[in-house]
């Protein structure tokens, strides 16, 4: 019988990282907007 592996552990502070992800997505979108504006 094969041994069942425990589910992979999430890295610590997953929730905080997950919340910050949205912030960085927003920042990236703003940066992209500025670049498009500058390179028009």
């Amino acid at each position: 019988m094969t041994e069942r592996r425990p589910p992979p552990k999430l890295p610590p502070h997953t929730t905080r990282v997950r919340r910050l992800a949205l912030f960085w997505v927003l920042n990236a979108a703003l940066a992209a907007g500025i670049l498009v504006f500058a390179l028009r």
């Binding site: 589910p7 552990k9 999430l10 610590p12 502070h13 997953t14 929730t15 905080r16 997950r18 919340r19 910050l20 949205l22 912030f23 927003l26 920042n27 979108a29 703003l30 907007g33 500025i34 670049l35 498009v36 504006f37 500058a38 390179l39 028009r40």
Partner: protein, 439 residues
């Protein structure tokens, strides 16, 4: 999804100045100069939107929650700061008086005193302002003083930046963009007026009165407010309100507290309040009949619109307040789902609302798990902290995977519990929480 729509709307406004500036069809300047102007315009748009993201608008915080609204307010302030501070250093064009053959200012930067002085002032004030906000709890000001300084300081900086943009910017004097700045500045000023003038004026017409006050546990009080001459507020279990007790409507002595009563119990509002600082420490001496004002309901720590085959309430200390409301309403509604309440405190003298807990056990068959980190001799409940180990032990069964988890308590407890639940395979949307402290 309304939250996603809000974020898109935010992006749209933050980038609108760039679209309007580009729409004028001016000849381009060196890329670095355009990036600098672009950064400055986005920073200003963010700055003006910070006023609206201040947490007092139900249409925003009611959708995404106060925690998320405040966190965005705090994080985006940092984005605006970085953009604003970096932009002056990116310009490559020389400062000079306008050249007669360069009407669109493609070759020089504006050298007008109004633009420079206001820009330099804002440049110096903005970082100080942000540091003062981040270090709020460490600078030792009263919260009310800080709040007033924060509102007025932000307004002063916004006005400086408005003048700076108008005089130093290549684009901001154009009618369309000037119009956008006017609209956003008006929105900022109106949101201040809304919180500091309109809400107090409305509150004056809907007074409340302290009709109950008793000590529940060590440094923990129950306060009951009853509406006088009106119908009270219509709220959902788990929401909170800003309340002002025995202070004039225009005073800044206003604090947020979760409503611990349930909508189904009637019009009176019950609060469970822990003595902590200057307002809460005066509670014990408040006479019955004292005038109060209530601004609410706010917040979205609510069960409506959420799924779960059972519900676990995990509270630390005074974080029990919203749980009482939620559990009481389930009891009134005769909700058939199983419920567990995990309630952590340091010692037995801090356990509040024992009658409510007993009633929940008896009538709603709620499983109440009491946790003490300094238990007395013979304590039969759990020992230690409300931490990952305890959660992993309590919610191991497969049926717990799709329960709903409601968290309220000290930040380290909530973070630990959240991690533990995610580790157990609970989906993030099944975990909802509210912070009492926005640091």
């Amino acid at each position: 999804m309304p939250a996603a729509a809000l974020i898109l709307f935010y992006l749209l406004i933050a980038l609108a100045p760039l679209a309007l500036a580009a729409g004028r069809g001016r000849p381009p300047r060196p890329v670095m100069d355009e990036i600098a102007s672009g950064m400055a315009m986005v920073a200003f748009a963010i700055l003006l939107m910070e006023f609206v993201l201040s947490g007092r608008f139900r249409s925003i915080s009611g959708r995404v929650g106060l925690d998320v609204t405040m966190r965005f307010h705090q994080l985006l302030a940092r984005t605006a700061l970085v953009l604003a501070l970096a932009h002056p250093f990116l310009y490559t064009l020389p400062f000079a008086r306008p050249l007669p053959f360069d009407p669109t200012r493609q070759l020089t930067l504006t050298f007008a005193a109004e633009g420079l002085v206001t820009g330099v002032l804002a440049f110096v004030l903005l970082p100080g302002f942000v540091i003062l906000s981040i270090a709020r709890d460490r600078i030792g000001w009263r919260y009310e003083t800080w709040r007033l300084a924060h509102g007025l300081g932000a307004l002063a900086i916004a006005v400086l930046v408005l003048i700076h943009a108008r005089h130093a910017g290549r684009y901001s004097a154009d009618p369309q963009l000037a119009g956008l700045w006017a609209v956003l500045t008006a929105a900022a000023v109106l949101s201040l007026a809304h919180v500091y003038l309109l809400k107090p004026l409305l509150a004056r017409r809907r007074p409340w009165e302290v009709t109950g006050l008793r000590q529940l546990a060590e440094r923990t009080w129950e306060v009951v407010l009853s509406p006088r001459g009106h119908e009270g507020i219509s709220y959902r279990a788990g929401q909170f309100a800003w309340i002002r007790i025995g202070a004039p409507v225009f005073s800044l002595r206003e604090n947020p507290f979760s409503i611990a009563s349930a909508p189904g119990e009637g019009k009176d509002l019950r609060f469970v309040i822990k003595e902590l600082g200057d307002f809460t420490a005066t509670l014990s001496g408040i006479p019955l009949g004292t005038r109060a004002h209530v601004d609410g309901p706010h917040g979205n720590l609510v069960l409506e619109g959420r799924q779960g085959s059972g519900i676990a309430f995990i509270a630390g200390g005074v974080g029990i307040a919203p749980m009482l409301s939620l559990l009481r309403q389930l009891e009134i509604d005769g909700d058939p789902r199983p419920t567990v309440l995990v309630y952590g405190n340091r010692h037995a003298g801090q356990i509040a609302c024992t009658e409510d807990l007993a009633r929940m056990r008896r009538q709603h068959r709620t499983e109440v798990v009491q946790v003490l980190s300094e238990p007395p001799q013979g304590w039969e409940g759990e020992r230690g902290m409300v931490d990952a180990a305890l959660i992993a032990r309590l919610f191991t069964e497969a049926r717990h995977r799709d329960w709903l988890y409601v968290l309220c308590g000290p930040a380290p407890m909530m973070e630990g519990v959240e991690e533990a639940l995610l580790d157990l395979g609970v989906a993030p949307r099944q975990i909802i929480s509210e912070r009492f402290q926005h640091d």
